[in-house]
C-alpha cells in the first residue's frame, strides 16, 4: 500500500532495499539453523561449601559422550557421561565410584515421572515406596560428597528413553562411544558456577490481636504458630518439599484463615494474641527462627504463652508426635499435651510425646521448637516423624514430591491444632465442644489446602536462591496479610557457615554424532559415484575410445610422421 503512494524514484530504491534485506534475513536465518537431536531440561546437583569444606558437584559445563550402565568392563569413562535411570540404580556402585574418586566425565540421573509435578499427578506406580527410599538414599550420598564432575537430574520422557535404549544397544555390542565410533554426545554449554553473594533469608510474621477488656492495661498473652517454608535438596531447582515443609506452611495458612474468621467479630475474639510466623533458614539449624526470635523485644518474648511449630504433617495415618524440650512433668507441657490429647481422642488420632533435652553448646538444632526453648519460651513441634533428623536430612529433597502427600492428613492435622488452640483460648478445655465442626461455616476448607499444596509443590524454595522480592515470598506475605491484622517481613543474611553456588538448571543438548569411519566411507562412495558419472558422460557423448585414450599416452611423433 505504501508502495503505490510513493513516487517512481523511490520505487527502485525500495526494490533494491528488499533484496538487501532479504539477503540479511537469509544470513540471520542461516546463522540460527543449528539444532540437536533432543534438548531437555536438566537440573544440577547442589554445590555448596560448609565450614570451608566443599560439597556437591563442583562443575557445571558438560561436553562428553554418553555411556550407559552396560559399559564393557575396563572401559575408560573419564570422558564419558553415565546415564543412569533411577529404576536401574545400584547404589553401591555409585557409592563406590564416588568414595574411591574414580574418574568420570559426568553423571546424569533419570527420575521417573512420579517425582515431577506436571506429569506425576495420579499415576499408580507399584514400587513407589521403594523408589522413594532409593532416591532418598542417593540424595544423602550425593549432598555429603565432594564430586569433581557435573551431576545432573532429568525427568524421563520419550526422547531420552529412545536415546538411552540406543546407547545401551551400542554398549552391548561392545563399542563404547569415542570420537571415532560415533554415538551420542551430551553438551551443556553453561559458564562456570559462581558464588551466590549474600544469600538472604526472609521471615514473614502475621499478628492477630486479641480482645483487650476495657480498662485492662496488661499485655495480652500470645500464642505463636510457626512453620519454616524453605527447603534444601540435591537439586535446588527441584526441591519443592511438599511434605517438608509444604504441609506445615499450608496448615499454618489455613489455621490463620480460620482464626481470622473468628477474630473478625469482636464478640468471638479471644483474649489471646496470635502470632503466625513463616520462617526461612530451616535446614540450616533453623537459623532464621533464631534471628527472628532475637529480633523480638523482651516484653513480647515474655508474653508468649507457648509456641506450636508445624513440620511434616502431610503423610501420616493415625499417629502424630509432639516434640518438646522441657520435661513432660512441666505444668505447661502437661497442659498443652492434655489439650491436644483430648481433641485427638475425639478425632481418633494417637498423639505421642517425645522429650529431648537441648544442649546449648551444640550448634545442631534438629527441630524448630528448640530455638524457642533456647530463649526460654515454651514450645513444641508437631510432626509425623518420631526421630530427630540429621543435618540436611528430611528437608524437602527430590523424593518429597506431591504424590506422597495426602491432603486429608493435613486437613485432620489442621483441625487438631485449631481445636486444641481454640479450646485453650476460649477456656473450653475438657469440654466436648466442636468449634471447627465439619460442614459448618468454620469448617476446615480442603479446597484451600489442596490449592496451596499444589502451589507449594511446584515452587522450589531453597533459601539462597529466593531473592528478597521473590514472587512466592510476596504471595505468602499477601496471603498472611489477608488473614491477619499486621504483617512484617524481616530480611537477614544467611550465616557464613554456608556458601552456595548458582547454576541450578540448564538445557541439555543431545547430539547424534557420526563416526570418522562413516565420513570416510561416504567419501569413498561419493568418489566412486563421480568417477562413474564421469565415465558414463564421456562414453555417451564422446565415445568409449575417448575414455580409453585418456589413460593412454598420446601417440609419439615418430608414428605420425611415418
Amino acid at each position: 500500500m505504501a508502495l503505490s503512494k510513493n513516487s517512481g524514484g523511490h520505487r527502485g530504491m525500495q526494490e533494491s532495499m528488499y533484496s538487501v534485506i532479504a539477503l540479511v534475513f537469509i544470513l540471520v536465518a542461516c546463522v540460527e539453523l543449528c539444532d540437536a537431536a533432543a534438548a531437555i531440561d536438566v537440573y544440577r546437583l547442589i554445590q555448596y561449601d560448609m565450614s570451608g569444606s566443599a560439597y556437591g558437584s563442583r562443575f557445571a559445563a558438560l561436553n562428553h559422550h554418553a555411556a550407559s550402565l552396560h559399559f564393557p568392563p575396563g572401559a575408560d569413562l573419564s570422558r564419558a557421561v553415565l546415564v543412569i535411570p533411577l529404576r536401574e540404580l545400584n547404589i553401591t556402585f555409585v557409592r563406590e565410584y564416588i568414595n574411591q574418586k574414580k574418574p568420570l566425565g559426568g553423571l546424569l540421573f533419570l527420575l521417573p515421572d512420579i517425582f515431577s509435578f506436571e506429569n506425576g499427578g495420579n499415576k499408580q506406580v507399584h514400587e513407589k515406596e521403594q523408589l522413594k527410599n532409593l532416591l532418598a538414599e542417593l540424595e544423602q550420598l550425593l549432598i555429603h560428597a565432594n564430586i569433581p564432575y557435573p551431576v545432573y537430574f532429568a525427568f524421563e520422557n520419550d526422547e531420552i528413553d529412545t536415546v538411552l535404549a540406543d546407547i545401551k544397544k551400542n554398549d552391548a555390542i561392545g563399542q563404547p562411544a569415542t570420537a571415532t565410533t560415533g554415538g551420542y554426545k551430551l553438551v551443556i554449554p553453561t559458564p562456570e558456577p559462581k558464588k551466590v553473594a549474600s544469600p538472604t533469608i526472609t521471615n514473614i510474621q502475621g499478628w492477630l490481636s486479641g480482645l483487650k477488656a476495657d480498662g485492662d492495661t496488661n499485655q495480652l498473652p500470645t500464642i505463636a504458630i510457626v512453620a519454616s517454608y524453605d527447603t534444601f535438596g540435591a537439586a535446588p531447582a527441584l526441591s519443592v518439599g511438599s511434605d517438608s515443609n509444604g504441609s506445615g506452611v499450608v496448615a499454618l495458612l489455613e489455621i490463620a484463615r480460620l482464626f481470622s474468621l473468628l477474630y473478625s467479630n469482636p464478640k468471638t475474639r479471644g483474649r489471646y494474641n496470635l502470632l503466625f510466623g513463616l520462617t526461612s533458614g530451616g535446614p540450616y539449624n533453623y537459623n532464621g527462627t533464631q534471628k527472628w526470635l532475637r529480633s523480638f523485644d523482651q516484653r513480647l518474648r515474655e508474653s508468649i504463652d507457648y509456641a506450636i511449630c508445624l513440620n511434616s504433617i502431610g503423610s501420616w495415618d493415625n499417629e502424630l508426635w509432639i516434640h518438646v524440650s522441657k520435661p513432660p512433668e512441666n505444668a505447661y507441657i502437661k497442659q498443652i499435651f492434655e489439650g491436644f490429647s483430648n481433641v485427638a481422642e475425639e478425632m481418633d488420632i494417637k498423639v505421642g510425646l517425645k522429650h529431648k533435652k537441648i544442649n546449648i553448646s551444640n550448634p545442631r538444632v534438629a527441630r524448630e521448637h528448640e530455638q524457642f526453648s533456647r530463649l526460654r519460651v515454651t514450645a513444641a513441634t508437631l510432626s509425623e516423624i518420631s526421630t530427630a533428623p540429621e543435618l540436611l536430612q528430611g528437608t524437602g529433597g527430590l523424593y518429597d514430591s506431591r504424590q506422597f502427600v495426602n491432603e486429608t492428613a493435613i486437613t485432620r492435622g489442621v483441625k487438631l491444632v485449631a481445636e486444641s488452640l481454640a479450646r485453650h483460648i476460649y477456656g473450653h478445655q475438657g469440654k466436648n465442644v466442636q468449634i471447627f465442626a465439619d460442614g459448618g461455616s468454620l469448617a476446615v476448607n480442603p479446597a484451600y489446602i489442596q490449592s496451596w499444596l499444589d502451589l507449594l509443590s511446584q515452587t522450589p524454595r531453597v533459601a539462597p536462591f529466593l531473592s528478597k522480592n521473590d514472587p512466592f515470598v510476596m504471595a505468602l506475605k499477601k496471603e498472611l496479610a489477608d488473614h491477619t491484622d499486621e504483617v512484617n517481613m524481616q530480611h537477614e543474611v544467611l550465616e557464613g557457615v554456608f556458601t552456595f553456588y548458582d547454576s541450578t538448571s540448564a538445557r541439555l543438548n543431545i547430539y547424534q554424532v557420526a563416526s570418522v569411519t562413516f565420513d570416510l566411507l561416504l567419501l569413498l562412495v561419493l568418489g566412486s559415484y563421480l568417477i562413474v558419472l564421469f565415465s558414463f558422460l564421456v562414453i555417451t557423448t564422446r565415445g568409449l575410445d575417448d575414455l580409453i585414450s585418456l589413460f593412454r599416452r598420446p601417440p609419439s611423433r615418430k608414428v605420425k610422421t611415418a
Binding site: 539444532d35 561436553n63 558419472l533 564421456v538
Partner: protein, 270 residues
C-alpha cells in the same frame, strides 16, 4: 509483512530442511566448537566437504566429461548463471507483491497456483538465456547443455550453499544434507532436459508435426516440477527421502524422454 514474504519466498530451500525435523533452535551452538575438540571440528568440516562435492561435483564433472570443455563453453554457462540470478530476483519481487504469508505450513491451492504461475518466469528466463544472449559459434547441441548447466549451478549455489555451510559443520549428524545433494543432482538433470526442450521449441524451426504437442507437454511438466514437489511435501505430507527419490526418478525419465525427442528431431536434418 512484505519483508517476511520476501524472506519466505527466497529461502524455500533452507525452509525445507528446517521443516523436516522438530527441534529447538539454539543460537549458541557455534561456540561449542571452540572447546578444544579440534579433532571433532576437522571431522565436521569433512562432512561439509563430502556434502559439497555431492552437491556441486556433478556440475564440474559434467562440464569436463562432455565436449563442453573442448569447445570452451564456460562463457555461456556463466551468462546463463547470471540470467538465473536475475530471474530469481524478479520472482522474488513478484512473490513479495502478490503472495500472502500463511501462518500454517499446509497446502493452500490458490497460493500454490500463484507460485506455479510465477514459476513460469523461470521458463521466460530460460528463453531469454537460450535465444537472446549472443553466444559464440557453438552448435545447438552444446548450447542447451551449457545453458542448462549454468542454470542448475546457479540454482544449487543460491539455494543450497548457505544451509550447507552452516548446517553440515554442526555437531549433529543428519541425512538431510546428503539428500539435499541428491536433490541438486536431480535438479541438474531436470535443468538440462528443460533447456533441451526449450531449444527444441524456440531454436529449431523444422520439427516433425506429430512431435510438437509432446514437446510442449514435456516442457510443461518439467517447468511445473517445483510445484509438484511442494504439493507432494505439503499436501500429501511425504517425507524428504521419498520426495528426493521421486525427483530423481522423474528427472531421469524426463531426461530420457527429452533425449529421445531431441534425437528424433535431429534425424530429418541430418
Amino acid at each position: 509483512m512484505i519483508y517476511k514474504s520476501v524472506f519466505s519466498g527466497l529461502i524455500e530451500g533452507p525452509k525445507q530442511i528446517q521443516s523436516n525435523k522438530n527441534k529447538t533452535i539454539c543460537s549458541s551452538q557455534i561456540q561449542i566448537e571452540n572447546w578444544g575438540q579440534k579433532i571433532r571440528r576437522k571431522m565436521t568440516m569433512f562432512h561439509f566437504f563430502n556434502c559439497a562435492i555431492l552437491t556441486f561435483g556433478p556440475h564440474a564433472v559434467y562440464y569436463s566429461a562432455t565436449p563442453l570443455s573442448e569447445y570452451d563453453t564456460l562463457g555461456t554457462s556463466v551468462k546463463a548463471a547470471l540470467v538465473y540470478l536475475g530471474t530469481a530476483l524478479v520472482k522474488l519481487v513478484c512473490l513479495a507483491t502478490f503472495l500472502k504469508v500463511s501462518e500454517n505450513d499446509g497446502f493452500d491451492p490458490y497460493q500454490e497456483l500463484l507460485k506455479a504461475v510465477i514459476g513460469f518466469i523461470d521458463v521466460a528466463g530460460l528463453y531469454f538465456a537460450l535465444t537472446q544472449l549472443t553466444h559464440r559459434n557453438i552448435s545447438q547441441n552444446h548450447k542447451f547443455q551449457a545453458v542448462g548447466l549454468g542454470w542448475a549451478f546457479a540454482d544449487s549455489v543460491l539455494h543450497r550453499l548457505a544451509p550447507l555451510w552452516v548446517g553440515a559443520r554442526g555437531l549433529e549428524f543428519t541425512w538431510d544434507f546428503i539428500l539435499q545433494g541428491l536433490e541438486a543432482n536431480a535438479n541438474l538433470v531436470l535443468s538440462i532436459s528443460l533447456a533441451a526442450l526449450g531449444s527444441l521449441m524456440w531454436l529449431r524451426k523444422n520439427k516433425p508435426k506429430t512431435l510438437i504437442p509432446i514437446i510442449y507437454a514435456c516442457a510443461g511438466i518439467v517447468a511445473t516440477m517445483p510445484s509438484i514437489t511442494s504439493y507432494l511435501r505439503r499436501g500429501l505430507g511425504w517425507h524428504f527421502p521419498k520426495v528426493v527419490g521421486f525427483e530423481l526418478f522423474t528427472s531421469l525419465s524426463m531426461a530420457f524422454i527429452s533425449w529421445q525427442l531431441f534425437s528424433a528431431c535431429q534425424r530429418p536434418s541430418s
